[in-house]
């Protein structure tokens, strides 16, 4: 099955070139050039993955990202010309799973996209439980559901993958680099802010008090680990 890609970018030359590259890699791209129409195009195209330029006419890329994230957990990869901390972190916080800084190599982009699309390959029946007693999080891996005290928590696929990666080996401390490799599929360590921001987002959803995390713990100077009872 060929994956559908929605490209949200206002530069016609770049969009066309992306189209050529994506088609040659076996994707089915569709395009939208401004932020106002991005959400309508998203609903219509029902893509498997979204490539989103942060600087758009009309609605800004950040707002588009939030709007899409509000109704879907579909993977979003930002295309950004800005590698400034503020811009990247803002994009990640508004719901993007990953980002690629322009100018990127086509192979790099495709690798990022494939990493985001490679999901649901392992469907071993597996139930995981982490967190201190009384505050436990239960993860049903094949069903892709997470619940806290029998209330379901809605996570994006990326957040789910991050949580599962930590929960599968409780007590083991994961460095940010290891998490980048396991969850994002980076061969070489990249921007560890990706991990930081998504851990924050995940904590905001599953921790009773995100300021004092009990389920995903920070190990100073090393990384993160799952909290156990």
């Amino acid at each position: 099955m060929r994956a559908r890609v929605l490209v949200v970018d206002d530069d016609p030359a770049l969009a066309e070139m992306l189209g050529i590259v994506l088609r040659s890699e076996g994707f089915l791209p569709s395009f939208v050039a401004d932020g106002e129409r991005a959400l309508a195009a998203f609903r219509e195209a029902r893509p498997d993955i979204v490539l989103l330029d942060l600087m758009l006419p009309g609605m800004s890329g950040i707002d588009v990202c939030r709007a899409i994230r509000a109704e879907s957990g579909v993977p979003i990869v930002m295309l950004t010309a800005k590698s400034d901390t503020v811009d990247v972190v803002l994009g990640l916080e508004s719901g993007a799973d990953d980002y690629v800084v322009k100018p990127f190599k086509p192979k790099e982009l495709v690798a990022r996209m494939r990493a985001r699309l490679r999901r649901g390959e392992d469907v071993t029946p597996e139930m995981l439980t982490i967190g201190p007693p009384g505050n436990q999080i239960t993860i049903d891996v094949p069903a892709h559901t997470v619940s806290r005290n029998s209330d379901e928590v809605r996570l994006t696929p990326l957040e789910f993958d991050l949580l599962v990666a930590l929960a599968r080996k409780p007590r083991q401390v994961f460095t940010r680099e290891v998490l980048l490799e396991q969850v994002w599929g980076y061969r070489h360590a990249a921007d560890t802010r990706l991990v930081n921001v998504h851990v924050q987002r995940l904590r905001a959803k599953i921790e009773p008090d995100p300021e004092r995390p009990e389920i995903i713990l920070t190990v100073r100077g090393v990384g993160y680990k799952a909290g156990t009872g």
Binding site: D11, A13, L14, M17, L18, I20, V21, S24, M55, L79, A81, K82, D84, T85, K102, P103, F104, K105, P106, K107, T175, E177, H188, A189, D191, T192, R193, R220, G221, V222
Partner: protein, 573 residues
């Protein structure tokens, strides 16, 4: 309880010593507090000085005034008394002059009594408390005859009329003195006047004792009034001084507080200006200064914002077409086998130069971000050992290609430091990359060490090195050791400049040592805790294997000042 005496004594001594020490300490503390207040408060100083000076002045004036008034009172009394004494002396002379015989003591006694009653019946004498006494020369004090004729007055008169006074009167002088004597159990001050009364049978002395009660009372009244008025005046002056200094000091204190707030960044702070006096002028000048400062800072902030915006826009505008070109070039590059050789080579060159163009653009934007002051330190605890290993791994293929083995000398335990991993990695990548480029195929050694406050990484190569004096130049933008030398790996020429800025952002040092033919060593020193000030580095800048015998290489180091890592700093862009 029977304690031996010496133990008891020693205990008492110890207790006393403790008490004394406590008291001494309390006094010292209090004294320090007073000195502090004296140093800090202008108002306290002015009020104290005013109090001291006005007390001295008012005291002097009060004393002089009181003395003047008292003297005047006494003088008036003396004048009046002298008049009465002269009249009395005249009368007594006439009365006693008729007696020629002095042999009969009874007669004398009678005459004396007569004279006394005569003098007592004078109009100015009636109703007054003036004592009149008469005595003959040579008679002892007990022979003093006095009026009013009672024991208390006689005793008082005997004490008041001293031998010294009597001697003077005996020599024919009219003399006076002040004496306070005991009269009926209460002190009474008398002005004692003595005058000789010549008679045929020898000198008789006539004494008048004028009570000074009213004068003493008046003098006391005056003194009391002067003291009360003086004290009131001094207190009033101190109050006025306090009030006046408060008037002056308050706006000054207000100005100081406002200035503090201004310097803390509250740029819209102003002073309240009332009236048109000097203080109002101070306030106005202050406000004007604050206004100008605020305008300047806002202008700089605006400029800096525009610069940042421009950087960001240029970045975006350049990067989007570059991305398209890059993708197109990649596509062409991947198909190069089907082209004829010239076109295929062109595709390769296009690809290579795009890489260079890209890294140059990235470095330029990074430098412009430092210049605009928008570089932000994203420090968190990181293991430097891991970072060094990662950098070495990543560059191992490049190093192998250049035949420069990279040796690592790392501590066994992790070195945790609060650093921005991305920036430290970039610095080390630059340093190792640089060493590989200039290492001439000889081994490169990377050493990491840490002490209590700092961690240091040295990167040593044994390449061509550089000349003494060029240690600072290597950090200059686009600087090349030998302009004629062909560039091999195609660095941008900005790597070390960016590294220096990265080190500076951490509050760290980046220094270079080099000698011709001996290679070079770069040292990066970082504080373990973000924001700490570096004082020393755990590693030496000059490598141990450097031949210093030939020429003592004086390492010129670039000491990087610790900068406060503020994001919105506008001033020094």
């Amino acid at each position: 309880m029977a304690l031996p005496r010496d133990i008891l004594a020693s205990r008492v001594t110890a207790a006393l010593r403790t008490t004394r020490r406590t008291v001494v300490r309390r006094v010292t503390v209090a004294w320090a507090a007073v000195r502090r207040a004296w140093r800090l408060s202008l108002q306290l100083r002015i009020v104290t000085i005013t109090l001291a000076i006005s007390a001295a002045l008012v005291g002097t004036f009060g004393f002089l005034v009181a003395k003047g008034i008292t003297d005047n009172l006494l003088q008036a009394r003396r004048d009046k008394a002298l008049e009465q004494v002269e009249v009395g002396a005249g009368l007594a002379t006439r009365q006693l002059g008729v007696v020629t015989q002095s042999s009969d003591p009874d007669l004398q006694t009678v005459r004396f009594a007569e004279v006394l009653s005569l003098l007592a019946s004078r109009p100015e004498q009636i109703g007054s408390d003036v004592v009149v006494a008469i005595v003959r020369r040579g008679d002892p004090e007990t022979a003093i005859k006095s009026w009013p004729d009672n024991a208390a007055v006689a005793a008082a008169a005997q004490t008041a009329i001293t031998p010294a006074l009597r001697d003077t009167v005996n020599q024919g002088w009219v003399a006076h003195q002040h004496r306070t004597v005991d009269l009926d159990g209460r002190p009474e001050t008398y002005l004692v006047y003595g005058t000789p009364v010549p008679t045929n049978w020898g000198n008789v002395e006539l004494y008048y004792l004028f009570p000074l009660a009213s004068e003493v009372k008046a003098a006391e009244q005056v003194t009391r009034t002067v003291i009360v008025t003086g004290a009131a005046l001094v207190i009033l002056l101190a109050l006025i001084a306090a009030l006046v200094t408060r008037l002056v000091v308050r706006p000054v204190r207000l100005a100081a507080r406002t200035a503090q707030r201004l310097s803390a960044g509250l740029l819209d702070q102003r002073m309240v200006v009332r009236g048109e006096d000097d203080l109002a002028q101070l306030g106005e000048a202050f406000n004007q200064m604050a206004g100008n400062l605020q305008r300047q800072i806002q202008r700089l902030e605006e400029m800096s914002r525009l610069q940042r915006r421009f950087t960001s826009d240029v970045s975006h505008e350049l990067r989007t077409p570059l991305t398209t070109v890059r993708m197109a070039a990649d596509l062409i590059f991947s198909e190069r086998d089907s082209f004829d050789p010239a076109v295929a080579r062109s595709a390769e060159l296009l690809q290579l130069e795009l890489d260079r163009f890209e890294s140059l653009l990235t470095d330029l934007l990074e430098i412009s971000r430092f210049d605009a002051g928008f570089a932000v330190l994203d420090a968190e605890p990181n293991d430097l050992v891991g970072i060094v290993r990662r950098v070495a791994d990543r560059l191992s293929s490049v190093a192998e290609r250049a035949c420069c083995p990279v040796e690592l000398q790392l501590p066994a335990a992790p070195v945790i430091a609060e650093v921005d991993a991305r920036r430290v990695e970039r610095v080390l990548r630059n340093l190792v990359g640089n060493a590989v480029e200039h290492g001439e195929g000889k081994p490169i050694r990377v050493t990491l060490a840490a002490d209590g406050g700092a961690a240091a990484v040295t990167v040593r190569d044994h390449g061509i090195g550089f000349n003494t004096g060029e240690e600072k130049l290597v950090f200059n933008r686009f600087w090349r050791a030998d302009p004629s030398r062909a560039r091999q790996t195609g660095g941008t020429g900005l790597g070390l400049s960016i590294s220096l800025e990265d080190a500076r952002l951490h509050g760290g040092w980046l220094e270079a040592w080099g000698a011709p033919g001996q290679g070079a060593q770069f040292r990066l020193t970082l504080p373990l805790r973000a924001g700490d000030r570096l004082v020393s580095s755990p590693l030496r800048l000059v490598p141990d294997d450097a031949h210093l015998g030939v020429r003592p290489a004086q390492p010129a180091t670039i000491e990087v000042q610790v900068l406060a890592p503020t994001g919105s700093e506008a001033g020094d862009a």
